[in-house]
């Protein structure tokens, strides 16, 4: 990395983070970060700590110890900048069932204080093929359509850091393809992408970096090309592993 690059490209990182839920440590001394222009796949078995880590980066969870930093500053001191820069999709859709898709986006857009809100909403709806359903109540949408509305919600404020927890859940084949194409283009636009999926090949087709978590610890963080798949327990679709 060239000197001073970390200043030019803002980063979102966790440093020595541990997170306890009661006696259970969901994350143990985790240190890693993502930078604008980077695309990282967060991979690991159930209970590895992926969701906890992403929630922490999205300012939804506090670490039991350690720090979450945005642009080098602890977000506990001022989380506003980080929140403005992060778009997050979770297992929950964050949608009000009694509001239409457009009304949901209008509401969150107003909380973000966005200018030209209606134009932004049009663009976000277009991005996820939701224009035809903008007047439908969120409760009447199928799971897949709710997921698309939730993605539109996350992209509404044009975030520099896109954090997606299982974004392909419930999507049909065409929507998966469209979302994959969109995510692949994010680093070119100078945005950072961190996402998780249980379909490794699907994730590997989008990301250039792999972060492997297991039992709350980082097992690997580096380029996908040089990842030790065998020792990470990852079997590629073609059956080959880097270790071999």
């Amino acid at each position: 990395m060239p000197p001073g690059d970390h200043i030019a490209k803002p980063s979102l990182e966790v440093r020595n983070v541990t997170k306890f839920f009661g006696d259970l440590a969901a994350l143990k001394e985790v240190t890693l970060g993502i930078r604008c222009g980077e695309s990282a796949l967060l991979y690991g078995p159930n209970g590895a700590g992926k969701t906890t880590l992403m929630r922490m980066l999205a300012s939804l969870a506090r670490p039991s110890s350690g720090e979450v930093l945005f642009g080098g500053e602890n977000i506990e001191h001022d989380g506003t900048r980080a929140k403005s820069a992060v778009g997050f999709v979770s297992h929950a859709t964050f949608l009000y069932g009694e509001l239409t898709v457009r009304e949901n986006l209008q509401f969150i857009g107003r909380l973000f204080g966005l200018s030209h809100l209606e134009k932004r909403i049009d663009a976000a709806l277009e991005m996820f093929d939701m224009r035809a359903r903008e007047g439908v109540f969120a409760r009447d949408l199928s799971r897949g359509l709710q997921q698309r509305a939730s993605l539109a919600r996350a992209f509404l404020h044009d975030p520099n850091f896109v954090i997606l927890d299982e974004p392909f859940t419930g999507l049909d084949h065409q929507s998966v393809k469209k979302l994959s194409d969109l995510l692949q283009r994010l680093p070119e636009q100078g945005k950072a992408l961190l996402f998780s999926t249980h379909d490794f090949e699907q994730g590997a087709a989008i990301a250039s970096r792999l972060i492997a978590l297991k039992a709350g610890r980082v097992r690997y963080s580096g380029t996908l090309d040089s990842a030790p798949f065998k020792s990470l327990g990852i079997v590629r679709a073609n059956g080959r592993t880097h270790d071999e």
Binding site: S84, T93, F94, Y96, L99, F107, L111, F112, G113
Partner: protein, 225 residues
């Protein structure tokens, strides 16, 4: 200015959700009216009896109807983790509190007007001679009660026995607001000398402002895990 816009957005959202499902206001009014009616049925509506009982009957009805409303207010936020979704925005948590509290205050206020109207009919009692004093007492009492209902509603929303939990958490603290409100309402209805009811309003107002400010300051911690 930006804070006002955020508060207005949250209030407008709650009003819109309520307009669409009409669950909160309907359940609050029906439940409150049922309590007032049962007490009216159980006791004679002689003037002295009414003066003695009606303030307590009204505030008990307000208290229970309020709990129903506060629970409903956070059930729509619980669905799809919407409250958490709100905290993803760069918004001061206290603005979320104010927006939710104003919605609760408005709904409870409307339910109070309905309850007071029917109480006046059923108990054959006119609130008009002391209307100004009663409105002041109702405003402060409801403000403090809605503030507590909002913060405890948010706490209870994350617990398993949320409906029970809200009552268990809120009533021991709201007790003081209710006691002072009943006392002040009773004095106002009896037309006691000015000093008496003013002191009563002062007590209700004082404790309500303390609870509202404390809830405002503490709401941030409630939203954290």
């Amino acid at each position: 200015m930006n804070s006002l816009k955020i508060i207005w957005s949250i209030l407008l959202k709650d009003l819109r959700v309520e307009w669409r499902n009409r669950e909160t206001l309907a359940s609050m009014c029906v439940f409150g009216l049922l309590i007032v009616f049962l007490f009216n049925f159980a006791f004679e509506s002689a003037r002295e009896e009414t003066l003695r009982l009606l303030p307590a009957v009204l505030w008990v009805a307000i208290a229970f109807a309020g709990v129903l409303g506060f629970n409903r207010s956070f059930s729509s936020e619980r669905e799809n983790d919407c409250l958490e979704g709100m905290t993803l925005a760069p918004v001061d948590p206290s603005m979320i509190f104010v927006g939710k509290m104003l919605a609760n205050l408005l709904f409870l206020g409307i339910a109070e007007v309905v309850m007071a109207f029917f109480a006046a009919l059923w108990f054959n009692f006119s609130f008009l001679p002391a209307l100004g004093q009663l409105l002041l007492i109702a405003f402060f009492g409801t403000l403090g009660y809605a503030a507590l209902g909002t913060i405890f509603g948010a706490i209870a929303a994350n617990t398993r026995m949320r409906e029970v939990m809200l009552t268990v958490l809120q009533f021991p603290i709201a007790f003081w607001i209710l006691i002072f409100s009943i006392d002040a309402t009773s004095n106002a209805m009896r037309g006691n000398p000015e000093g008496n009811w003013l002191a009563g309003v002062g007590r209700v107002g004082g404790i309500s402002v303390v609870f509202t400010v404390a809830s405002f300051l503490l709401f941030e911690y409630v939203l954290e895990e």
